[in-house]
Point group: C2
Chain length 314, copies 2
């Protein structure tokens, strides 16, 4: 058992299942003890029928919350044991109407006594606890209902990965990646324009030498995002070539790149930064807004694809 201890909270699932098993084992003994001579797995069906009178297979599987083959199987077994009578419905020949036989009904009183005792024992047990186990269980179920555990883990993963993302300055070794990522996203959404080609093929001549900058996001030594600052005039830079590789989106890499770029612009003496985009690109617009950009006065853009201009005072 040191193992569960060791794994601790990671093994909560197994732990819950195991605790459930403990109850199940005891339950099996109880049926015997109370003279309710049924297989434990029959109980849900039996109980349901004792309450509802008659049910179809599907109705039962839905209210019990298990697959219909299980119910079908159980009904077959119980019929063989003489506890159940089945028959076709007169209204819909597909449905199998199931009800308790006389022998089955004869078990009801014992079963009710058993349920009563089990209920009381559980009630006493729960009231004896310092923690409200029942409420805690409900809360856990409801939280997992809002967002599954899987989603929660994925979120942690993205967080961890984003922490491992590093922003670095451009150097020639990144030229291929810089081109690849940008051509990819442009081709995916629009088409490559003359301006794109010129910049991507000659980042040195078109961005760096005129006094701009290029930043790259690295994750595990691979380039997963790019962003550049184009110098417009002594006090103004334009944010361009901002992209994050498809597999790494949702990890705040755009945010990191954006922050780093604005920081860089400030250090280069900028008073204002602008960015052009397309209203189709919702996530991009929303990122720029989060970074502090606001819708600016529309100006002539060299790109066909741009229909919105945003700016920020630094």
């Amino acid at each position: 058992m040191d193992f569960l201890q060791d794994l601790g909270k990671v093994a909560l699932g197994s732990r819950l299942r195991r605790l459930g098993e403990v109850f199940a084992v005891d339950a099996a003994r109880l049926y015997e003890m109370y003279g309710v001579d049924i297989h434990p797995k029959w109980f849900p069906v039996f109980y349901l029928l004792s309450r509802q009178g008659e049910c179809s297979i599907t109705t039962m599987s839905k209210s019990i919350g298990c697959s219909h083959p299980v119910v079908s199987q159980v009904v077959k077994e119980m019929a063989k044991a003489g506890l159940i009578k089945t028959g076709k419905s007169s209204e819909d020949a597909r449905v199998n109407v199931v009800k308790l036989s006389t022998a089955g009904k004869a078990l009801i009183p014992n079963m009710e006594v058993q349920v009563q005792d089990v209920f009381e024992a559980m009630d006493v047990l729960l009231r004896q606890m310092r923690h409200d186990f029942w409420e805690a269980l409900e809360e856990m179920e409801s939280l997992l209902g809002e967002r599954s555990f899987l989603e929660r883990v994925v979120e942690r993963r993205k967080l961890r990965e984003s922490r491992q993302v590093e922003i670095v300055e451009y150097s020639d070794e990144y030229h291929e990646d810089f081109k690849r990522l940008n051509y990819e996203w442009i081709r995916h959404h629009f088409k490559v324009e003359r301006e794109d080609y010129e910049i991507l093929e000659d980042p040195h001549g078109k961005i760096l030498e005129p006094g701009g900058a290029i930043l790259l996001a690295l994750y595990e030594n691979a380039v997963v995002g790019t962003c550049a600052l184009l110098k417009k005039d002594s006090k103004t830079f334009e944010l361009v070539k901002m992209t994050v590789s498809t597999g790494m989106r949702g990890r705040s890499i755009g945010w990191k790149l954006g922050c780093a770029a604005l920081e860089k612009a400030r250090s280069l003496g900028a008073a204002k930064a602008v960015v052009e985009s397309n209203t189709k690109l919702k996530p991009a617009i929303s990122l720029y807004r989060k970074l502090g950009f606001e819708r600016g006065t529309a100006q002539h853009s060299p790109y066909e694809r741009c229909n919105i201009q945003m700016e920020i005072n630094l």
Copy 2:
């Protein structure tokens, strides 16, 4: 789902298991997502080996807390998948020393990242809760460790049954039951003596007519216990023929009979009641003590089997 609602706390077991399942399903997706290309059920073995280096089958089954065939099976499957190397121990040719292969070890980094993320997600989830689910779980486990759920239900049952036990005065219709129960217990522990025979065959002449009384415990209209008051003198009664049927012990029936008998003695004007027994009969002695009897001065008893005399002032 109305079913679980309806059954409420009675179905706690299923509910726990189901919640455990939810985690298990998500876990299965996670292995894939993290590139830990293993069957979910392999995880415990894999994790253990990644920590311990090498283990035997039994060691693993013990620390994981599952049966050894499962481990044996998993090891076979993992070996087939090339993740594990096995070999006989040099010290003990029975033990199968299991360790990760190079391919298996290659998965460790991914697995560790996964465990880390899962741990954090769980930690966040638990800290987000108003109730302390983790503590509640521990408390529940510890309570069930002290006394199993089965025992708790049995206790409720006894309580319920004892509430249904009724104490009535003797009448001739009970003669057979009175005799049967008493002969049974005497024969079981000792042997029937002349005195027993006389009283049991003629309760009217030996008990009632001299001014004594007989009380019976009824459960579902069946006699499940007896007790009589023998008049010794105007102020003293002796408690005799106190017995409870074997199947109904542990339901405080003796206590009920005893209380009723003392009450009856008082109403008959007694100032003192005595009882004779044998020190071998621990439960009987302890019952008398609980009723208020204290060890009295030993007197001559007509029964061979008696070696202790107790009395109480009413």
